[in-house]
Amino acid sequence: MLLKYLLEKEFKQIRRNPFLPRLIAAYPIFAMMVFPWVVDLEVRDINLCVIDNDRSAYSRRLVAQASASRYFHLSELAATYDEAMESIQRNQSDVILEINPGFERELMRGDCPDVMISANSVNGTRGGFAGNYLSQIIADFSADIARESPGSLIEITPQYRYNPHLDYKNYVIPALMVILLTIICGFLPALNIVGEKEKGTIEQINVTPVKKYLFILSKLIPYWIIGVFILTVCIGLAALTYGLIPAGNLLVIYLFAVLFVITCSGLGLVVSNYSSTMQQAMFVMFFFTIVMLLMSGALTPVKSMPQWAQTITWFNPLRYFVEAMRAVYLKGSGFWDLRTQCFVLLGIAGFFSLWAVWSYKKK
């Protein structure tokens, strides 16, 4: 009963804030429309610079095959290696393919000619991919030529499950929803109690007989509701604009979302309780959010991390939510497949909520 009045006050304050309602309404829309286009780690449009020292029919065929592929486009034909390096340094090319003189002659003779691939790997992912993929094209080219003589009999056909069109957006959008919820449902509560501390109103609350858990609950519930609202907007927008519809059950998504939002807002309040200024709260929150985000698998695969880092991710609520979102969205996993994640998240949610109540001191 009292909770009703406490909640009413929190909602009124949120509504009257000149920024918050606009932020809560506009941010998810903006993020869903813009970020999927940005958050794109797919490697493509690799600029290829070719030094063709052979200028033969075969070398030209190789160059044509490489530039026709989905990933490369020919940016420059350089005469010398220095010229090619210059192009790399000016960021006009990403990878150099150098064909030695005598390439065709050696091939015809049945020798194995070298070609040089030099990839700019300041960005390791991009460089590695360019190198690998160009090697693959050359291997295919070799095989094509060899096919004119007896060659490979094994036919390899790749099949891509869960994301047959290899659309990176499908992979990123579920994680993006997680990030959005983290930001809104983590940062806003973090600013809340410390805000009352700076204004002095918390003092007035502390001399009242209000129960700690009720007061904290009244601070948390608005963000739970906001979180579910934002998620709904995101799911709707993902379906409308990207045609991305969860393969699994929506209820499982909401179950996880509720647990996650409880965790996040709990963490936010804990930070708020321990901070004495908003600046401090902001900074601490920023730190935790960045670390959790990087260690969640939302941006880079957890499996690629070293063992110690993977151990840290066991304690990261984001990890479980990201896993669950992707599994439900792409693989159509059900509750039973995700029960482990669910129970761990439930535990973490309980932990942070209790901590939020405990760390709020009325003295």
Partner: protein, 245 residues
């Protein structure tokens, strides 16, 4: 039991610093008790302990019939508090602030509305009930803060420098509110550094460097120190102070 507050040997230390040094006093029911002292003398710290906002290092006390150290939540049910820092929600309206605090103190739903209406009418605020608090002048805000502090009819009201920064006229009006509350039987515990206000109190205590140096009615104090105003009394005592801000 005629004491609203009864304090024995109360001490509060922060590290090596003794903010409140072994103070003892009683406040009778219905009394207006002035708690005076220079800045940094320990008034606010002492008051925060009485309200259950801070735990004493040693000593004991009974406030509104409950033990300070073990029953602070019960004390909170029976006191009102108005802090030095203005502490109503600026982004809520007058009406909403009343409603919020009334609910917290467990005033029942229908009762909240009737009491709020009554209170606002009495203060001539009824027309402004839907105004956001931040749009009100300071004097009004302070009157409102006082009204919220006594809204749930507490036994004791603690006022921490309630009239800081307002003009003399508003201060007078404010004291009229205090008298009115005292007449209805509420015990008033007020800190101030306006010495003219000290004259309005039934009894005052003067704190210097964490200790209570004098405690009596204003008339007796003036006689004892041979001063013609409370200001004179205060200046004599304050000369002894070692602490500075």
């Amino acid at each position: 039991m005629n004491n609203a507050i009864k304090i024995n040997n109360l001490t509060k230390k922060f590290g090596n610093f003794t903010a409140v040094d072994n103070i003892s006093f009683d406040v009778q029911k219905g009394e207006i008790f002035g708690f005076l002292g220079a800045n940094g003398a320990g008034k606010t710290t002492a008051m925060r302990m009485l309200c259950g906002l801070s735990v004493p290092t040693s000593g004991s006390g009974v406030v509104a019939g409950f033990d300070m150290t073990t029953e602070s939540e019960k004390i909170k049910r029976n006191i009102g508090y108005m802090s030095q820092k203005f502490s109503l929600y600026e982004d809520l309206t007058v009406w909403e602030n009343f409603r919020y605090y009334a609910a917290i103190y467990g005033v029942r739903g229908r009762e909240i509305a009737t009491r709020t209406t009554g209170m606002l009418r009495e203060l001539n605020f009824y027309a402004d009930r839907d105004t956001l608090v931040k749009d009100l002048p300071l004097g009004w805000k302070q009157k409102l803060a006082f009204s919220t502090a006594v809204f749930h009819r507490p036994e004791i009201v603690f006022l921490d420098e309630p009239t800081g920064g307002v003009d003399p006229l508003t201060r007078r009006q404010f004291w009229e509110l205090i008298y009115k509350a005292a007449e209805s039987g509420v015990t008033i515990f007020v800190t101030t550094h306006y010495m003219d206000e000290a004259e309005y109190c039934d009894r005052v205590s003067i704190m210097v460097d964490g200790r209570i140096e004098a405690m009596d009615s204003p008339a007796n104090l003036k006689q004892h120190f041979g001063a013609d105003s409370m200001d004179g009394v205060f200046r004599q005592l304050a000369r002894k102070a070692q602490r500075t801000d």
